[in-house]
Structures are given as structure tokens and as C-alpha cells.
């Protein structure tokens, strides 16, 4: 914990009508670290990420960016700070080629005229440094495989030189080899000193690339674990609330077994 957190959430709360989606959530994201955000469906992962990305402004709490408090009210605010988000549906234009997609909304140009050569060159360099292999940067995204589309979407997030990259379920729809490609890419992002927030349902992926795992349960923090020293089962228990149910509560009242578990957490 020597490094200063690039992004820190303190006591974040978010309410939608009668639903308290997030209650007093804390999260610290360090540069050069992959932090996995896990939790059951409805645990508030997506809501938390959307508050960071500026889609849903927070109701309570503070967001700190490199030590100072900031307000993120619109997606634009997050992008300006250096937070890039890759959503699950990727948001690529199938009819445009890879270069056009990478620079969409951010084109290199002279006045209003596109500078295709500068964009293509930069795209090749970016894909090379990330060791991304795609057939050609000039083919429509529609002709790429699911894994290739995912890495293109991630590469696109890097065009603006962000400091924090949020990946929403990047491997959910991918096969074994393609998942490996994406996980490799996540590791390369970490090597470049970026902070990566990885939302995933797949514990194998989390254990493969994440440094820490933050567990959300019912909109609250349910522990942050160091991947290297934590077992699979402990994380699962935190996700499902197995360490906090009728049986353990009864044990806590009657014996010490429950207390030990609490202490371990």
C-alpha cells in the first residue's frame, strides 16, 4: 500500500427510487494494479462502475482522484479525468473498420478532413505494443471474432491515454483461447502502469489476473481480499454471503466457529 491510490471511493451511496443500490461503499484503486470487482447479480457492481464512469452521479460520499476530491456528474467528466470504460456490449460500429472504430469521436484531422494515415499508423503502433493480432486494421469490425472485438474495444479505451480502465465482464461471451487473449491484454495494461477495474463473474479469470478482489454484497462492501493469499472458497463465501447466514449467526451466538470465520475475513 505504498503507492498512492489513483482513484478512491469513500462512503459512496446511490439510491434509485425505493432501491438503495449502494450503501457506504469504499474502494481504492492503485496504479499498476488489477482490482477485480465481484459480487452476485444485483450486488451493485454495475451501479458502482457507472458512478465512476459518470453515468449515474453519486448521492453521497466522495470520489478522490490522485488524492483530491472530484465531482463526476457526466461521462465526459470521467473521460477528462482519465477514466475509460469498456461496456459489456462493446459499442463498436460493425460497418466501420478497426481504425475508424478506434478513433471514433476522436479522429485525427486537419480542419474537418480526416488524417487516415496518422490514425492508421497510431492504430498499428497501439495494437503492436499491446501485442494484439487482428487480420488487418482496415477490415470492418463485423468480420472479427468475439475476442478480437473485445481487444479492439479495450484498445479503443486506451486511445485517450487513460489512467484507469474499467472492463465490464470482458470475458463473458468468449471461448477459452479468446479469454486467454483478453486476460493477456489485461496483464499488459497493468505492466503499462494502468489501474484496471475488472468486473467478472468468472472466478478463474479473477484469480488469473487480479491482484486484489473487492466483493460487493447487497450494495455494501463485503471485504477486499488479496488474491495471492486468499482461497477461492473464501471469496465465493463472501460473494454468496455463506459467511453470514442463519447457520453462522446461530454458531456465532452459541459457539466460536462463526467468530473465527469473521476474524479470518
Amino acid at each position: 500500500m505504498a503507492k498512492e491510490a489513483v482513484l478512491a471511493l469513500r462512503g459512496i451511496s446511490k439510491r434509485f427510487g425505493a432501491v438503495q443500490a449502494l450503501t457506504d461503499v469504499d474502494l481504492e484503486v492503485l496504479p499498476g494494479e488489477v482490482i477485480a470487482l465481484v459480487g452476485d447479480n444485483g450486488a451493485g457492481k454495475s451501479t458502482l462502475v457507472k458512478t465512476i464512469a459518470g453515468v449515474h452521479p453519486i448521492d453521497d460520499g466522495t470520489i478522490e482522484w490522485q488524492g483530491g476530491p472530484v465531482a463526476i456528474n457526466r461521462p465526459h467528466d470521467a473521460q477528462d479525468l482519465g477514466i475509460a470504460t469498456v461496456y459489456q456490449d462493446l459499442a463498436l460500429c460493425d460497418n466501420l473498420d478497426v481504425v475508424a472504430n478506434l478513433f471514433l469521436g476522436n479522429e485525427a484531422r486537419h480542419a474537418a478532413v480526416l488524417d487516415e494515415i496518422a490514425m492508421e499508423k497510431r492504430a498499428m503502433e497501439l495494437l503492436d505494443t499491446l501485442s494484439i493480432r487482428i487480420p488487418s486494421v482496415r477490415i470492418p469490425v463485423a468480420s472479427l471474432s468475439g475476442g478480437q472485438r473485445q481487444v479492439v474495444a479495450i484498445a479503443r479505451a486506451l486511445i485517450g491515454d487513460p489512467k484507469v480502465v474499467i472492463l465490464d465482464e470482458p470475458t463473458a461471451a468468449l471461448g477459452v483461447e479468446q479469454t486467454a487473449q483478453v486476460l493477456d491484454l489485461v496483464e499488459r495494461l497493468r505492466e503499462r502502469g494502468l489501474a484496471v477495474i475488472l468486473i467478472s463473474h468468472n472466478m478463474a479469470d479473477v484469480q488469473a489476473v487480479a491482484d486484489r478482489v473487492a466483493v460487493l454484497r447487497l450494495g455494501r462492501n463485503n471485504g477486499v481480499f488479496d488474491v495471492a493469499t486468499t482461497s477461492h472458497e473464501e471469496v465465493i463465501a463472501a460473494i454468496t454471503g455463506a459467511s453470514d447466514n442463519a447457520v453462522t449467526r446461530r454458531q456465532a451466538r452459541t459457539g466460536t466457529a462463526g467468530l473465527e470465520k469473521e476474524a479470518a475475513k
Binding site: 461521462p75 459499442a91 460497418n95 471514433l104 476522436n106 474537418a112 480526416l114 494515415i117 483461447e177
Partner: protein
């Protein structure tokens, strides 16, 4: 019995052996990142260009190929039926007749690239012609000013369609259908008691299709300039790409493209000079095409149109002002429709209450689609307006020369439109299986 057992054993033992190397192959590309054999990158040189072209055709990316083949077939058939079809006068007429509907079709290509449709272009053309005629002829307003106001009226009308579509959220189909009815009503109201207003001698609108650059230097000069500009653009692009160490077009490809362009340009110039010279209408149409093509392919605005047509939500998240793109595209379509209406008025000798009615709308949309612009958005070229309107006008010209009645023309044009959409759908299916959209 023993035979079959032996065979089964044979296959059993063969299978694992056969499977092992296959597995090895599957792992190899991941392990050796030098050149992935699955990557289909176009090879350098002319041979690479040819293999790439073959692969595209097999993958269903036919591009302009079917239309150009269709044009050749049309020319051969009508020439064999009537030797005047390819005569200088006939070709020159086609060159003049395509201008008005072609300019309108250019606007439709913009709208189709968004994945929308504009059913009002015929009525807007009629309004444009009526506005010009009423201002200039009936009320004696300056001729040029009237032309500008007529085109501006088209822009305003189109923008209004765009507003109701993009901002209010009414489907474009319905907005422009309402416009189709409403604007033709406005057109008839503007024309008032007069059934038609004839274009006066020497007016701007008469010149639109009536003026020819009779000096043969004009047609040849335009051909020379366009071929040189085309070659220069290709060469400069290739040079800049080589300087940036990017794959570039081989010189042989540039030579072939320029040669084809030169043949087309000079044959056209020669034929036009055999008749009345270079028509002003054709020059204006080509200028509209060049400007529109540049805007669509080379500017951020064009990129935004393709992005909205391909995936509006992705475009919105990329920070593109989707509403503005939609409104402006409908504005362009309306503006070009009114401009095209002036050409039609010029051809038919004046503005009428029924100008732009009838099959004008269908011809314009058919031209854009026949030329190869997808009805489903995000795919197409501005030049498809030229190719498509050439097909439609050639058929009409040929049937006129043969003295066929207009009902036959309708049926044949309908069949050609259907054929074009069939080709589009089939090639799209092939593209889906080949993994391209």
C-alpha cells in the same frame, strides 16, 4: 465380419494419430506470434491485389461490379435492338437527363447511409421548382436569388423532417410520408391558378440543362483535369503511406485504375463532343458527386454519418451528436431534392403542379439502391447515385427509342430494382457467412 472389425480398428488407430498433429497446429499460432497463418492481409504487389479482389467477390463484397455488368448488358441489348442507342446524341441526352434525378439520388444516398428513408424528395423537388417559378417568373425576383431561395427552401423542409425524426422521435418513414403529401399540397397551392409556369428564355434554370460547352476543349479539358487529379490523389496517398511505413497501393494498381478512369473519361468526352459538347447539367452533377463523396469518405462529418448508420448507440457513446447528424442529413437530402427539382423543371420546360409526382420518387430511391447503397444503413458509396441513375435512364432511353409504352418501362424498371435488391440481399447473406457486413 473380420473385415469390418479390421476396418474399424484401422480407423480407431488412425484417429488418434490424425488428431495429434491437428492439436499441435491449433496450439502453434498462439505460441509463435511471428506470422499467424489465419491472418488475411493483402499481399503487396499486383498479384496481391488480384487475390484480394477474388476473395472479396467470393465473400460477397461485389461492390459496383453487378451494376457495371448490368450497364454493359443494357448497352449491348439496346444497341443490338436499335443502332441509335449508343449514338452521340442519345448518349448526350442520357448525360443531361440523369442530372436532376441523379442529384436527388445523391441526397437519398446520404439518408440511406443513416439507415433511414426519405419519401418526400419528389414533392420537395416540386416545391423547389414552384418556389423558383413563382418568385422569378410570376413576381419578377432576381433569377439567381430565386434559385438560391428555392434550394434554401429545400434545406429548410429537409431540416424540418430531420427535426421531427431526430428530436421528436417520429419514424422517418412517417415524417417523410406526411411530407410527401403535405409538400405536394404546398406545391399546388404555390402554383395557384396556373397549371404550369414556363421557364423564360435565357433564365438560369433554362441554362441548367440547356447550356452546352460547345468548344471541344471543354470536354477534353475536364477529362484531362479529372484523370490527372485522380492519379495525383492516388500517388500522393501512396507516397504518404510509404513514408509512414504503412501498406500502400502498388504502382501497378494505380496505373490500372488511372488507365480505366482515363478510358472512361476520354471516351465520354469524345462522344459528347460528337454531339452538342459538354452539357452543363452533367458538369454540375459530377461536381455534386465529387463534393458529396469527399464529405462522406474523407471528413469527420462523413465518418459520423457512417457511425450513426452502423450503430447509433455506439456513436452516441463516442461523443457524436447523433441528433445533429440526423437533422443535417435530412437537410442535405431536402436541399439536393429542391436543386434536382430545378433541373427537372428545366428539362420539362417549366414548373408544373405535378412536377416530381409520379415515378420520380421511385426512380430516385431505385437509383440509390441499384447503385449498391444498402437499405439498412452504414454501407454504400456516393457514386452509387451515378451508377444507379445511369441504369435507370439508359433503360428509359432505350425503351423510348424502341417506342415502347410507358407501362412497359415501369414494369422493366421495377424488375431491375427487384434484381438489384435481390443481389444486395444475396450478397449480404454471403457476406454474413464470410463474416462481413
Amino acid at each position: 465380419m473380420s473385415d469390418t472389425v479390421d476396418k474399424e480398428r484401422g480407423t480407431e488407430t488412425a484417429n488418434p494419430e490424425g488428431a495429434a498433429p491437428a492439436d499441435g497446429d491449433a496450439v502453434a499460432p498462439g505460441a509463435a506470434p511471428v506470422v499467424d497463418p489465419r491472418l488475411l492481409v493483402r499481399e503487396q504487389g499486383f498479384a496481391g491485389y488480384l487475390t484480394d479482389f477474388k476473395r472479396r467477390v467470393r465473400g460477397g463484397e461485389l461492390g459496383s461490379l453487378p451494376v457495371i455488368l448490368g450497364l454493359i448488358i443494357i448497352a449491348v441489348i439496346f444497341q443490338s435492338l436499335n443502332e441509335n442507342f449508343l449514338s452521340a446524341g442519345s448518349v448526350s441526352d442520357i448525360g443531361v437527363y440523369i442530372a436532376g434525378t441523379g442529384i436527388m439520388a445523391t441526397g437519398i444516398v446520404f439518408v440511406l447511409l443513416l439507415g433511414e428513408i426519405d419519401l418526400s424528395v419528389g414533392s420537395v423537388a416540386g416545391v423547389g421548382a414552384a418556389v423558383w417559378a413563382v418568385l422569378s417568373v410570376t413576381n419578377g425576383v432576381n433569377d439567381w436569388l430565386s434559385v438560391v431561395i428555392a434550394i434554401f427552401a429545400g434545406l429548410v423542409i429537409g431540416t424540418l423532417h430531420g427535426f421531427f425524426f431526430a428530436r421528436v422521435g417520429v419514424p422517418a418513414f412517417v415524417v417523410t410520408l406526411a411530407g410527401f403529401l403535405g409538400w405536394s399540397g404546398l406545391q399546388i397551392w404555390l402554383m395557384g391558378s396556373e397549371g404550369s409556369i414556363n421557364t423564360p428564355e435565357g433564365s438560369v434554370v433554362e441554362d441548367l440543362t440547356g447550356y452546352y460547352f460547345e468548344d471541344i476543349a471543354a470536354a477534353y479539358g475536364l477529362a484531362v483535369v479529372s484523370v490527372l487529379a485522380y492519379a495525383a490523389a492516388l500517388l500522393v496517398d501512396a507516397k504518404r503511406r510509404r513514408a509512414a511505413r504503412l501498406p500502400s497501393r502498388p504502382v501497378s494498381e494505380i496505373v490500372v485504375r488511372t488507365a480505366v478512369m482515363a478510358v472512361v473519361a476520354f471516351v465520354a468526352a469524345y462522344v459528347l463532343n460528337q454531339s452538342r459538347g459538354l452539357p452543363l447539367a452533367l458538369v454540375i452533377f459530377l461536381a455534386v458527386l465529387v463534393i458529396a463523396d469527399f464529405a462522406v469518405r474523407r471528413t469527420t462529418y462523413g465518418r459520423q454519418i457512417f457511425a450513426v448508420g452502423g450503430n447509433a448507440e455506439a456513436a452516441r457513446r463516442a461523443g457524436i451528436n447523433v441528433e445533429w447528424v440526423r437533422i443535417s442529413v435530412f437537410g442535405i437530402a431536402g436541399m439536393l431534392a429542391a436543386f434536382g427539382g430545378l433541373f427537372i423543371a428545366s428539362l420539362s420546360g417549366g414548373a408544373t403542379k405535378s412536377l416530381g409526382a409520379g415515378n420520380t420518387l421511385m426512380n430516385v430511391i431505385a437509383a440509390a439502391v441499384i447503385g449498391g447503397t444498402s437499405l439498412f444503413g452504414g454501407r454504400g458509396k456516393i457514386w452509387s447515385a451515378l451508377l444507379g441513375i445511369l441504369v435507370i435512364q439508359s433503360i428509359q432511353q432505350g425503351l423510348n427509342l424502341l417506342g415502347m409504352a410507358s407501362e412497359i418501362q415501369y414494369m422493366i424498371t421495377g424488375a431491375v430494382l427487384l434484381a438489384a435488391v435481390v443481389i444486395d440481399s444475396v450478397s449480404r447473406r454471403t457476406q454474413k457467412t464470410a463474416g462481413r457486413t
